[in-house]
Structures are given as C-alpha cells and as structure tokens.
Symmetry: C2
Subunit: 207 residues, 2 copies
C-alpha cells in the first residue's frame, strides 16, 4: 500500500513526463524532475521505490518507460466518466473546463434543482434534474461525483450517492461529509487553503 | 514551529467552533469535535498540544475560550485583502463567491488582459489591466494573490509578484511555479485531486 502523499504526487509526475515525452526528451535526471515538480529528489526516489527499481542511480530515468508505467498505474488509457452535482458558480466553471488537459477524465453528466438549468446542455454536458440521479449514475456506470452544491444540501445528496454505489466524492463544500469506509472523499476547501496561507505568512514569513 | 498538516486543520477547527458558538454550545468533547471535522481525536489532541493545554482530559473543551484562541491564531479579527489574477472561468466563480462565509478574507482587486473585462466591476470587485498590478498591490498593501491564469502566463506573472513583494500565492494552474524561500505557494490542483481519487478507487476500493 502506498502512502496517500505519494499517490497525490503521481499525477504530477505523469503530467511532467508527458510534457518531456512530447518535447522529445529521452532521459531525465532526478534533479531535473525535482526542479520541475517542486518535490525534493529524495522524496521522488522514495516514491518511485514503492514501485520497484524505476531508474538506475547516476544514470537518470528513461522518460518513455516511466511514462508507460505511470500511464498504467493511473489508468490513463481508460476514460473515467464523472458526474457533477450543483451547476452554480463553481460547478459552471468546472463544466466549462471539463478537465480538458487530461484525456482520462471527463464530466459526462451534471445535476441541479434549478429548472432554468435542467434539460439544457452546457459545454457539451447534459444537466439532469435530481430525480434522475440514480438512473444516470447506474446507466453511465459513474463511480465518482464532484459535489458543488450549497452546504446544507451536501449530506443528503451524499447519502443518496452511497446508496447508488458511488465510490468517490470530490467535495468542494466546506463541511466534512460522513461516508462509510468503502467510499473515498477528497476535500477541496478553498477557504481553508487561503486561511492556511495567511497563517504561514503571519507566522513564518521572515524565515 | 507547527507542522503544515496541523496548520491546514486550524481553519477547520475554527469553522466548526464558530458553528457551535452560534448554536449556543458551551462545551465540546474531543469525540464530538472529531466526528464533525473527520479528524481522529488523537490527532486533535496532538494538534492542540502545540498550543499548550487547551482543555482538560475527560472534561472536554470550552467552546468560547478555544474559539477566542483560534480567532487570534488565525488572525480572524483582521481583514486580509487578496488580489486575483485571471478573471476567466475559475476566476469569475471565485469573484462571485468572494469567500462570503468567512469575514476575514476578501478579494479586493482583480486583474486581467481582456479589454472587455478591465475597467469593469464584478461582484463589487474592480478589474484592473495588468499594467496596474504593481501600483494596486502597493497601494492596497496586498500580500496574497490568487492565480487563475493560463499555464503559460503563470511563471512570468509570479516573477512580477515576487518583485512586488507579495508573500503568498494560491496557485490554480497545473504547473509548479518557482519562488524564493520568502514566498509561500499553496497549489490547488483540481486535475490532481480527481486523478488521485481515481487511483485510490482503482487500487483500494474493496478494502
Ligand atoms: N464559488 C467558489 O468559488 C467557492 C469557493 C469555496 C467554496 N465553495 C463551495 O462550493 C459550493 C458551491 O458554491 P457556488 O459558489 O457554486 O454556489 P452557487 O449557489 O452558485 O451554486 C450552487 C448550485 O447548486 C444547486 N443546488 C442547490 N441545492 C441543490 C440540491 N439539493 N441538489 C442539487 N443541486 C442543488 C443550485 O441550483 C446552484 O446551481 C458551496 O458549498 C460553496 O460553499 C465555492
Ligand atoms: N476552470 C476550472 O475548472 C479549472 C480546473 C482546473 C484547473 N484550472 C486552471 O486554472 C487556470 C484558469 O482556468 P480557467 O478555466 O479559468 O481559464 P480561462 O481561459 O477561462 O481564464 C483565464 C483568464 O486569464 C486571463 N489571462 C490570460 N493571460 C493573462 C495574463 N498574461 N495576465 C493576466 N490575465 C491573463 C484571460 O483573459 C482569462 O480571463 C488555468 O491555468 C487552468 O489550467 C481551471
């Protein structure tokens, strides 16, 4: 089992290696990789060690074989459909973006309670009313949902998603939702990010 | 010096304690706090121990005194103005939201290169052209900037921010920007979050 912090860095390594591959580079040293992804070389070597020997010390890493390895590990050759619930300010921005820079994830269905939105198509994505949630999740075999609804709606919707056998939730609401161990939640808390930044600047900025 | 993981949890504790205070609660047990913020009690006790004895074991924590403590630690009674650069999809959503649920942070100035946007006011925030960046940062004593520009513009703008003596950047672009040690960067990488979620579901969902 690899640590969560390592799993969070894998997409970063993959993205940079894709960039190198497209630029025609064959080899990359751990120092160069470290400079690009802003992770120290010792951490990179430790991360890579979870997967067996990926490179020879002093020789650098082979870009193509690393890339093939990470593409498989991150299941990049297989498209994952995700649903988005709550097409307001933030939901709308995510729909417009629709993860265009990665070809392995796309938002294939959106849901809302606002009658002006449901039944329309935004950035190529159909917006369904909430009473079609379970049907669409089942028909499209959706396993991951992005939650961009108001705080007070978050837990009720989460309970419906658990019953609909969803395994992953990307939660943008400020509350911590309750889920059983079989469901994985990643919280993206934008207010937290800013307050943490302020805390560090107030307390450590002169160091 | 407290660990980064602890600092990231402080706003979460503060938010929940504010919620309890507004509901008129006097005491909270570490179990109840743990359930609400989804952090185990041992971690909460360890986090709190960095700040001296904040509660008596077995007796629970006093909501008001904890709240006052965290308000001071997070500098909540002082408004922090931040700037936002790049009022596109994501920038627009953040402007409309303008961190309304917290009274300690607000976006006071935005910047863009699009002539249709500059010179207008959106959600009460003025949008300036990029040639006014340094002047406004100085006049408004802005120390923190939210970066929601396209990838290729990110590093050049960061270099200008460093020269303008900004100390914190909340980076939404997928690249890792280079800054000196005196500048703190928090990366919010939405593509990473989804890919990490997919990795965990693929590898561990049956446990
Ligand atoms: N916009 C931001 O920049 C930002 C920043 C930080 C946190 N957040 C959080 O993200 C969430 C969304 O924020 P927003 O600014 O997009 O809000 P918003 O009010 O603009 O959008 C919410 C959307 O959810 C829909 N909705 C309401 N109840 C629903 C329900 N029961 N089922 C399905 N859809 C429902 C609404 O019709 C609306 O379209 C909130 O929880 C907010 O706290 C947003
Ligand atoms: N929208 C999302 O949901 C989302 C998700 C993940 C990552 N991101 C990242 O966030 C960033 C913004 O994404 P977006 O969807 O809002 O893009 P966008 O293209 O909609 O907006 C970019 C904005 O930046 C402005 N801009 C361009 N060059 C500039 C410069 N040199 N100086 C100042 N402003 C400049 C543009 O005029 C535009 O208003 C991108 O780096 C993107 O990869 C966005």
């Amino acid at each position: 089992k690899i640590p969560k912090a390592t799993a969070k860095r894998l997409p970063l390594y993959y993205r940079y290696l894709t960039f190198l591959h497209n630029a025609g580079k064959q080899k990359v040293s751990s120092t160069e990789l470290s400079e690009a992804v802003k992770v120290d070389s010792a951490t990179i070597r430790r991360d890579f060690s979870y997967f067996g020997a990926l490179g020879k010390r002093g020789y650098g890493y082979d870009v193509d074989s690393l890339l093939a390895f990470f593409a498989k590990t991150l299941n990049q050759d297989h498209l994952t459909n995700v649903a988005l619930i709550g097409v307001g300010n933030l939901g709308h921005a995510l729909l417009n973006y629709n993860f265009r820079q990665t070809n392995s994830v796309r938002i294939s269905a959106a849901f809302d309670v606002n009658p002006d939105l449901t039944g329309t198509i935004q950035s190529g994505v159909p917006i369904y009313p909430m009473d079609e949630l379970e049907t669409q999740i089942k028909d499209q075999q959706i396993d991951i949902v992005i939650l961009t609804v108001p705080t007070q709606a978050a837990q009720d919707i989460t309970d419906r998603l658990i019953k609909a056998n969803v395994h992953g939730i990307l939660n943008f609401t400020p509350i911590r939702i309750s889920v059983p161990d079989t469901v994985r939640v990643q919280n993206v808390d934008l207010v937290n990010e800013l307050q943490t930044l302020i805390y560090f600047i107030d307390h450590y900025s002169n160091q």
